[in-house]
Amino acid sequence: MTHDNTALSTPADEPAASAPGERAVVLLVATRKGAWLYHSDAARERWRVDGPHFLGHIISHLVLDPRDGRTLLAAAKTGHLGPTIFRSTDLGRSWSEARHPPAFASAAKDGEGLPGRTVDHTFWLTPGNPDQPEVWYAGTSPQGLFRSRDGGVSWAPFSCINDDPQYRRWMGSVQDGTPDGPKLHSIIVDPRDAAHLYLAMSGGGVHESVDGGLSFKPLLDQLKVVEGFDRADPTFHDPHCVRLCPSQPDRLYQQNHCGVFRLDRPSEQWLDIGRNLPAEVGDVGFPLVVHPRDADTAWVFPMDGTSVWPRTSPDGKPAVYATRDGGQSWRRLDAGLPSSQAWWTVKRQAMSADGLDPVGLYFGTTSGELWMSRDEGLHWQCIARHLPEIYAVESALLA
């Protein structure tokens, strides 16, 4: 693999050394052709690449378990084979396959009831709360919610929504989803209460459970939908990415098909904060990232949502936009990014913030570039080029 950027200058077979007691950072990069791990120390100046893992596999999400700092789950499939989950308990040195990957219930044999569905791929992985150390959640395409209670080895349908007639209607058909299938994503567990869950469906809207997933209800008030459609119907809502602020778990941010929104619970009314972005940039994008310690700070990556929805950086000039006041105002952050002719797309899972101070920000493009800022977006630097299409970038701190 060729890299022409100074950020990746540590020899590939040497770890980026961390001083004793200092935290290290790992980036988990999932692509259409495999997964890569990028390691650095707290300075985040040099990166060591570890990969490819699963070369040729379609990896939708690669997530580190923050509860033990060494278990990785990878949501995988190939062009020919059905979907599965791979699991590593040694930070990717070795992998084993889930014994029972996510799979929908069989259709009723008597022909009654809803048609059976088939998991095309697992799209999203969320670890459970610290007091539930073996629990993971998975969201699939088409929309399904699954849970593992043994660290990702065995998965089973979770909650009623996979086979609830009302939810199935809201999910729509395969034609109602994204170009590579409708998805259940943004599974969020309230850090204060493991029974309090949020999830999002593209399409199908944002939903909340306060009873540990026994039931969900839509959470859509004041959200916009495409003109001409009924915004009271979850079918027409397309949340791209929903995030909960870890420092203020009553605050949610959402980037969706029609803008950027904030919700402060217990209110159920989303506030349109995308309207405060520059009109010439717009408020459409896929990812949204929140600050780990400041609930007034969030970052988005606007993309062109006009005409035929190019979903590329507006005018070919990529920029991250940051708010420091809960969305009342936004600041353009593009120092170090190309100033023209860069038509980037960044997918909803492909932007991440680490927990260091100052916060490191990371994003990956569908054109296979991995970028980072070690000063909360003020300056940007490329870590890697020439990767396959990047689907997801997660960052994690290692002890």
Binding site: T78, G79, H80, L81, G82, T84, E97, A98, R99, P101, A103, F104, A105, S106, A107, G116, R117, T118, V119
Partner: protein, 85 residues
């Protein structure tokens, strides 16, 4: 019977050619699953349908039905078909 394994599934078997038995395609696949856990779900979905890009051929004839009776001997070829890029 002899079963020829495509490259995409050799991470399960370790070999391109293995032995498995059964009176139907479903039974042969169950035997493969017993020997190589996880392999069946990569080929057959949860609604018991053959996945879109998987094909089975016995002695040159394509098998389309899991319940199809099979002879006691023969060569089953599993093919990863028509997907890439």
């Amino acid at each position: 019977m002899k079963v020829l394994i495509p490259s995409a599934l050799r991470s399960y078997t370790g070999h391109g050619e293995v032995e498995a038995g059964g009176a139907t395609l479903a039974a042969v696949l169950a035997d493969l699953e017993r020997r190589y856990p996880g392999i069946r779900f990569r080929m057959i979905d949860e609604q018991q349908e053959i996945r879109r890009h998987i094909r089975f051929f016995l002695n040159g004839e394509q098998l389309r039905d899991l319940a199809q009776p099979l002879p006691a001997s023969g060569e089953l070829i599993i093919v990863q078909a028509l997907s890439g890029g």
